[in-house]
Symmetry: C2
Subunit: 474 residues, 2 copies
């Protein structure tokens, strides 16, 4: 398990904490919700991930003497407050989606309850862990969806934000469906299968390409994938690889595959497939890499490209693409000291959902998802209820049909600061993601202009928000 | 100092290493260059950063028993190779640009010399550290350039790739010119000034906005910046902040500033400025945040916005923008066992520069930069020499004028695996960056379609590449 500094936070969390302490309201009970407003990549869903590292931070949060000494040196805090920090722990309750679940805009993915002090201070760490891993898991789900039944390898480490950025990428990509990585550190620490063959430098380290290929086949007879684009893919790499494939066959071995890392992947993969088929090697696998993402994979596939394994790096690790780069998850106060809380601002899209809430998934008789409903905590929505769009309550209301089953899809994962539901087996989380994606409504997985999943709020929640809005605007 | 796993690498580095070992060529001398092909963000330059963490990794690289046990469990490596790994260290030489230097496409930013084994294995860690930090430092330089003399605060932690992604952002942003952060961990570990005030949740934790502002002023009389957009910036936040400013003045205190985090920042900042000026508070500082980057800052400034402090988070931490997201730095074999090496591929832009090289900066009499020249190691370019564009050698050649001074701008930073030139003072690196940006040719800092700095190769290097290309294509 990674260890985190207790200073894994923004400075304003600490100044607010000092303020709450000075005002004597730091033990006021409070509830925060973590959610996002827009699905990433102009898609319809996100795959929830990053909970486990966030909970590890909460469970182990404790200021050491050196941290207190550093903070004292800033000359911004009173001795009483610094003394309070020495004994500060997170002792609250956390309710959350399980990792690997498909989630949608405005749904409270994580709800944190406790004192104002502890719930406020942990905002940054929660957002840091969950924003990025949810984004990568979502990108990975999109990439594996585009790849269809072909396998995908993650190798984004060299473009990730530092070593543990790379670990986060490997973990979240696995949850989203990319079940192997080039990252050895992730292999060891997270038990993810590691894969990889050779780079152009291998070829360049030998007098010529054929000599380099022969050497690689000699060293790795069971796992030989040759990179064929160091000099010229079709004129040099391909014929040399076929030569080696023949030599291996004569020795009773088998060339596993080749890799192409540049050029027109649709054209080159078809030419390579034809040549290997003609030479009697229909089983040689074709691996492709080079700035791949879901859009390139989809277009190469549509043009009849013959790629068996996709290697995805930069554009996964950086979550490139329209509406990518950042999830934009936020953490907002919903309830404090017995009162529901609402934030307005000048931007209507930033209106929050007040009060302590429950999240329900409505499930069709065939197991597919019908819609999600956010209710007040005390409410139990029923068939026949009228529900409202959270962003356009005046325009759209729907009646919940009779034939759906209601499932409360969040769990208590931490109580009194201790993890009570621990999901450490990444394979289970990845399996959950596969099953969730299968149960989305038709068209939800489309890359362009997908079907948008319905998330509604109950009449009770809608009425409360309208009332609070009127009160605040008076 | 951060500690890194020796497994901070891609699996193919390890399979290649095993291959070199099996072939008995792992001790062959080799030279790799690290460079990028295109300036990020459609700009003209990059700010080099990330060297120090990369060198720390090299200096401490050593496989532990648990690492060897993990690798043994993969059943891909021989006992002899695993035994070799036990004693494996990086004992090579590293030549590099100093951090904070302005660098340009195709220039060898880092050159690594040593055995094939050690120079190959460290590729991933070098790229990981330098790609991301150089990208962030460049983004930070663009942002501070757009902000002019106004100050900028970095608060990207909640959108960064995990905690040490956040540390990398803070470090590199500082080098690029953003000299304060919200990240307390970075404050303590990297000695960067920390700043921050309060969030919307502070306001929402009190019965009303005015009560919340008064409480904050009471707690932080010397450092009070009020966030005024929780409910309504101009109708509520602004008049309440002015009330508090008056109350503070009556107590002999001073409201330091306000912050706006949503809406039209040009319009709102002008309205807020007018209101505070009219109320007799011309010194109250206006802080703005909300998905800012160099383009938004530039456009708000052009419209006469009255922002004194810019807070930049998401778009800095994710390096968003055209040509952003990843630097695309690569690490290529240039020389091996006495021979210069060239990589071709089907993509002309991916052609490498062969052999061991030197990098020269040509400096005008007034200290400004004229152009950079890449030469073979043994060459010393002179005034009057004809030099060539590295990507279009047939089209463009230039004669070096008489009045420039030649400076070899790289240094030996590591010898026999030990750091010999250590620059740990971030403030020096940030000062260097300021001075470098001032010395770029006119138009280089333009956000759109900037002047492109000239990088040339000598006739010797050009001839060598042409010869190798012909040989390889035969």
């Amino acid at each position: 398990m990674q260890t985190y500094s207790p200073l894994f936070s923004d400075f304003y969390q600490l100044t607010m904490l000092a303020g709450y302490f000075a005002e004597g309201i730091h033990e006021t009970p409070a509830t925060f919700d973590l959610y996002f407003r827009k699905p990433p990549f102009q898609g319809s869903y996100a795959v929830f991930a990053g909970l486990k590292p966030a909970l590890d931070f909460l469970e182990n949060l404790q200021f050491g003497d050196d941290d207190i000494a550093y903070l004292r040196g800033l000359n911004e805090f009173t001795p009483e407050f610094l003394d309070f920090l020495k004994h500060f722990r997170f002792r609250g309750k956390v309710t959350a989606m399980p990792e690997g679940t498909c989630v949608f805009p405005r749904e409270p993915l994580v709800t944190v309850e406790g004192t104002l002090a502890e719930t406020q201070y942990v905002e940054t760490a929660l957002l840091n862990c969950i924003n990025f891993q949810t984004l990568v898991a979502t990108k990975a789900a999109r990439v594996t969806t585009a790849a269809g039944r072909k396998s995908v390898l993650e190798f984004g480490l060299r473009r990730a934000q530092g070593p543990d950025g790379g670990l986060s990428v490997a973990r979240a990509a696995y949850i989203g469906g990319i079940r192997s990585t080039s990252n050895i550190w992730a292999g060891k620490d997270l038990n993810i299968p590691v894969k990889g063959t050779h780079a152009h430098s291998w070829v360049m380290s030998f007098p010529d390409e054929l000599t380099a290929f022969r050497a690689y086949a000699r060293c790795f007879p069971k796992n030989c994938i040759l990179l064929i684009d160091t000099y010229d893919t079709l004129q040099s790499g391909l014929p040399n690889a076929i030569t080696v494939a023949r030599e291996m066959r004569e020795r009773g071995e088998k060339l596993l595959g080749i890799r192409i890392d540049s050029g027109d992947l649709a054209y080159l993969s078809k030419e390579v497939r034809k040549a290997f088929d003609a030479a009697g090697f229909p089983d040689v696998l074709i691996t492709a890499s080079s700035d791949l993402d879901e859009y390139v994979i989809d277009s190469v596939n549509r043009e009849g490209g013959c790629v068996d394994i996709w290697g995805v790096g930069t554009r996964l690790a950086t979550c490139a693409g329209e509406g990518g780069g950042a999830l934009g998850g936020v953490y907002k106060l919903a309830w404090c000291n017995g009162l529901p809380k609402l934030k307005i601002t000048n931007d209507p899209s930033k209106l929050t959902l007040p009060d302590r809430k429950k999240l329900w998934r409505l499930i069709n008789p065939d197991g597919s998802f019908f819609m999600d409903v956010i209710s007040l905590e005390r409410e139990v929505p029923q068939p026949g209820d009228r529900v409202f769009d959270p962003t356009a309550p005046l325009l759209r209301s729907r009646i919940i049909p009779d034939n759906v089953r209601f499932e409360s899809i969040r769990h208590t994962v931490m109580e009194n600061g201790s993890i009570v539901r621990d999901e450490s087996d990444l394979a289970c989380l990845a399996d959950r993601c596969v099953s969730q994606l299968e149960r989305l409504p038709e068209g939800s997985l489309r890359l362009l202009n997908p079907h948008l999943y319905k998330v509604a709020i109950t009449a009770g929640l809608n009425d409360l928000r309208t009332r609070l809005l009127r009160e605040l605007q008076q």
